[in-house]
């Protein structure tokens, strides 16, 4: 079991490390780095599925007998590109969030929003009072 | 389109059914079109009202021929359909006849009370009547439920008409209680019925016979009776006094004609045509609800006695009188059910008179409390004479229509060997004496507290209320005619 599956388990471990970072860390950039790690774990898992012992890259030539499966590779090419596209969008959002809030820590951003909302509510209450008084 | 033409030309006049629903809708449209011309607007309302009364009354000769008119299939297996049967015709007639009367009165009242937004008022008024027609003519539970909810929504703006904080609060209670009971209890009850019987049609012998054990039927019956919040059984009666914030004509329409009668009508319909009186009697499924109705009857009457606010007293009187009808239904006896149906009519005519009087008193004399009415009878003889007549009818004494309905209910409970309901029914009448008679007595016999500075209410108001008071008397003599079509359906002796 160990000899035949340790590779999968390592890939899974990489996924889990990434997943932990995404969920637990509050820094938006760190979250994105974690997301990449998570995805790389998945990519490796896919490629692992297509690997055949003693095989070689699926580029057909006359002196090779066994090839690894090309399909997972194609899928992962697509997935990598999707991943980097997501990363780029996420980073662009992070930059804009930094410009709007002055921070890239999720907790601080939320805190600033909630203080803003409270202030707004207070203003509203005060306005209502004035309206009632006059 | 071809169907419609065929229905019109066919001898049995099935097209009158959708026409009865369409007329008030057209009235609603006309009111909106003419919203800037007040006289034309109200004239149109009255005209449509008379036309509707004509159409509905013309159906009496064919009441038991089982006219049907299918609109369309709503969901597979569930058609939206109208059907004519005597009970529904009774309800439809009450609503259709009292609508133009109330409209005339409302035109006078709202002007005198300087209420805003009359166009909105008359439009939703017509919409309420349309939904009442829809309910009265429904051929199955789903169709009925749609009309039932429409009525709640159509009356919402009427209850909140004043637009002040108190009206908003009252309207909120009104809508929340009615929608909550109908969605929370009535809808599951209907779905359950559908699951059991595979149909929601109203059939003369009921559709649930032999479909479930008595335990399930008891639970289902309770779901129905509490779910039909408009029947105002305690503890779901809260909306009725809350809705007293509405202008008097609305109260009259809501609490005498359309809304509460839609409630008890639905109760009767469910008892007779869904459960079937025989099934109910055999399984005893209705018995627990008899007690609830009896309790409501007495408790509401006692609250009514203790209320000084005139409209509030009338509201609780309504709760009590509705419980009569529900009680009659739960007895699961043909005679009692006929009495309930008749009481639907007599109470409607009586109670609308009382509310119209209360409104006339409020705008003319500015009095809303019972204790302020001393000696007013001299200044407003017509109004109080009408009030007295209607009171007598509600109590159930000759020569008014109430006599017969109460008599039939008593007879029914005696024939069903139910002693406690018999006692309760009698006690309710005595309590009615206690909460209604003092009002007229005070007005006529006590000396006025101060010199009245006003006379009788204007003719547009006294006219309608005199008319309805006369109606109370007329029902004493015409009760047989009213009951005749029903007798066949209920197999009365």
């Amino acid at each position: 079991m160990i000899a035949s599956h340790y590779v999968y388990w390592t890939f899974f471990a990489l996924m889990l490390i990434g997943l932990y970072v995404v969920i637990s860390h509050g820094n938006l950039l760190k979250k994105l780095i974690g997301l990449s790690l998570f995805q790389v774990g998945v990519f490796l898992f896919y490629i692992g599925l297509g690997k055949q012992d003693g095989g070689s890259a699926p580029i057909i030539s006359d002196d090779v007998e066994t090839y690894s499966h090309p399909l997972p590779q194609v899928l992962i090419l697509t997935a990598i590109v999707v991943g980097v596209a997501t990363l780029a969008v996420g980073l662009a959002l992070a930059v804009r969030i930094f410009e709007a809030y002055g921070t890239v820590e999720e907790d601080e951003v939320l805190e600033r929003d909630s203080t803003e909302r409270l202030a707004e509510r207070d203003r509203e209450r005060a306005a209502e009072h004035d309206g009632g008084g006059s | 389109m071809a169907e419609l033409t065929a229905a019109w030309t066919s001898p049995d006049r099935a097209a009158a059914l959708p026409a009865a629903v369409a007329l008030p809708l057209l009235a609603c449209g006309a009111v909106l079109l003419l919203r800037h011309r007040s006289i034309a607007r109200e004239a149109a309302s009255v005209a449509f009202g008379l036309a509707l009364a004509g159409v509905v009354l013309a159906l009496w000769p064919v009441a038991d021929r089982g006219l049907r008119f299918e609109l369309w299939t709503w969901l597979p297996g569930l058609p939206l359909e109208f059907a004519l049967e005597p009970l529904g015709l009774l309800f439809a007639s009450v609503a259709a006849v009292l609508w133009p009367v109330t409209t005339v009165y409302a035109a006078g009242y709202l002007r005198a009370a300087r209420e805003p937004a009359l166009d909105r008022f008359f439009a939703f008024f017509a919409l309420t009547i349309a939904s009442a027609m829809w309910i009265a003519l429904s051929a199955n539970l789903v169709t009925l439920l749609i009309g039932y909810e429409l009525m709640t929504l159509a009356t919402w703006p009427l209850v909140a008409h004043h637009g002040d904080a108190q009206a908003r609060r009252g309207a909120r209670t009104y809508v929340v209680v009615l929608l909550a009971t109908s969605i929370g209890l009535l809808l599951p009850a209907i779905v359950w019925t559908w699951a059991l019987a595979d149909t929601t049609d109203f059939r003369p012998d009921g559709i649930l016979a032999g479909q479930a054990g008595s335990g399930v039927l008891t639970l289902l019956f309770a779901l129905y009776l509490f779910g039909i919040g408009k029947a105002a059984l305690m503890p779901v009666h809260r909306w009725l006094p809350a809705a007293m914030v509405a202008p008097a004509p609305v109260s009259a329409l809501l609490h005498a004609v359309a809304v509460v009668k839609a409630g008890v009508f639905t109760v009767l319909k469910v008892t007779v045509y869904v459960f079937g009186l025989d099934t109910l009697r055999e399984t005893g499924a209705a018995e627990p609800m008899t007690w609830v109705a009896a309790f409501t009857l007495i408790a509401a009457a006692i609250v009514a006695i203790r209320s000084d606010d005139l409209k509030r007293r009338l509201a609780y009187s309504t709760v009590s009188q509705l419980a009569y009808i529900v009680l009659a239904a739960t007895l699961a006896h043909q005679v009692a059910a006929a009495g309930g149906a008749l009481h639907m009519v007599t109470h409607a005519v009586g109670k609308i008179t009382l509310f119209l009087c209360a409104g006339a008193i409020a705008v003319t004399a500015g009095k809303t409390r019972v204790s302020e009415l001393d000696g007013l009878g001299r200044a407003m003889p017509w109004t109080f004479a009408a009030f007295l007549t209607a009171s007598v009818s509600i109590i159930g004494l000759p020569p008014t229509g109430g006599t017969w309905s109460k008599w039939l209910m008593l007879l029914g409970s005696a024939e069903a060997d139910q002693v406690v309901p018999l006692v309760v029914l009698l006690a309710g009448s005595l309590l009615a004496v206690a909460y209604l008679m003092p009002i007229a007595v005070r007005a006529f016999l006590r000396p006025p507290a101060d010199l009245p500075t006003h006379g009788e209410a204007p003719l547009v108001m006294t006219g309608p209320l005199t008319l309805t008071a006369l109606g109370c008397v007329a029902l004493f003599f015409g009760a047989d005619a009213v009951l005749e079509p029903l007798a066949g359906t209920l197999e009365l002796p």
Binding site: M15, L19, V22, L28, L32, L35, F38, Q39, V42, F45, Y46, L49, L71, L75, T78, V82, A85, T86, V89, G90, L93, A94, R96, I97, A100, Y101, E106, V109, L110, D113, E124 | W72, T73, W74, L75, P76, L78, L80, L145, I146, E149, L150, T152, L153, A160, A167, R168, A171, R172, V175, V176, L179, A180, I183, G184, L187, P188, V191, W194, A195
Partner: protein
Amino acid sequence: MTGQLPVLQVAVPLLCAPLCVLLRSRFVAWLLFLAASLTSLTCAVWLAERVDRTGALRYAMGDWQAPYGIEFVVNGFNTPVLLLVSLSAVVAAVYSRRSVAAELDDRRVPLLYACLCLALAGLLGLSITGDVFNAFVFLEISSLSTYTMIAMGRRRQALLASFRYLVIGTIGATFLLIGIGLAYAVTGTLNMADLAQRLTGSHDNRALQAAVVFVFVGLAVKMAVFPLHAWLPAAYGEAPSAVSTFVAATGTKVAIYVFCRFAFTVFGASLVFGAMPVDRIGLLLACLGILAGSAAACFQDDLRYVLAWSSVAQVGYIVAGVSLATTAGVSGAYLHMIMHSVTKAALFAIAGVLLLRLGSVRLADLAGLGRRMPWTFAAFVVAGLGLVGVPPTAGFASKWALVTALVERDQWPVLVAMLAGSLLALVYVGRVIEVAWFREPPDGADPLRPPASMVAAIWFLVLLSLYFGIDASLPAHLADAAAAALLGKGGG
């Protein structure tokens, strides 16, 4: 040419996206989006009619037969979704002309329309594809364009909303990818029909069971099923109005369709609902979602957040229907999907009009609306009552179907939750109506006239919902056909 309809459905919006960017004119971009959505709608109607007549259609991409190539499958189960998505797009297109012009600066407008085209293409592709990995790609297209559009919202909160949706959404998509990978490891194929065929009889394969878990958890994120709904309120609440109108009507619905597709025609009901307790978990989460979403909606003080939370609850209704795994349940779920789409799109569209005219949709700012914008308000009342499920609105018909399905299976606790949800809906809709109707408008407030195109879009939806409420036979027919196609014969 009619043989090419399945691909035209997706290719036309896809083609319009780069054209929007290339031509860079606001008007042309709008026209392109309108044209794309109209074409899609035409294709969808055509396809629905053909499927109704002759049964399932298959289209092999590049003429490579499945499972070697990718195929599109049109069948009873996805024609309602195709119709729904493309119809919502048409309405959103009509609506967006004025709304987008008011909410976005001029130069970003073509980009928004390009994204709308992409989202449309993504959702349609997701609904029509018969290949699991291709579904992942289309899911990412629709998601990425949605993130972008949400970030175009007016307030800075939109940025964080978009970012959080991006992170959660990507985790969800990656879960889906893991699930697909595990299923691939067990079967060696990606084609849905082929998968279904090769999976029969391997119910106790643990990798396969894990695949089910990952696929469903991944989809649950996109569906906003209860504990995974956190992204939805802010995302819908902060997006530009035209976007929330379109996305609220379609986004979660398509994900639910994909869920059904996987559950019934890929993994098979006997594995998902028999060997694994997905039905019980689904019912539980549905109940929690209904209650939590409705309750949260009652405490919001921004109209768009009220609507967004209500969406969380409504997803619960649909999931409950699907989890019953009966014909009646799935048909009810589809019906509710259709009805809720129409209703919720109308409501978000109304919120957009209010935003345009009042500058805010906080409940406190809606005072006196009934007098200032009577018609818009009337539309709100009708659509709002549709959320509650009051007859004769569309919501009633679908709730009826769902409740019937629940009674059929004796699922009383779920029924109670559903009814409680309806009552809570009454509270949150009632709050809005009360403020808008009965509270006095601020001094000097004049009647306001919303733009005609937006009014037309709103009233189209509202009247459609009323029509479906009083005569539900058309959507009911579609829903029944869908349920029959999903449950009748596996392998789709």
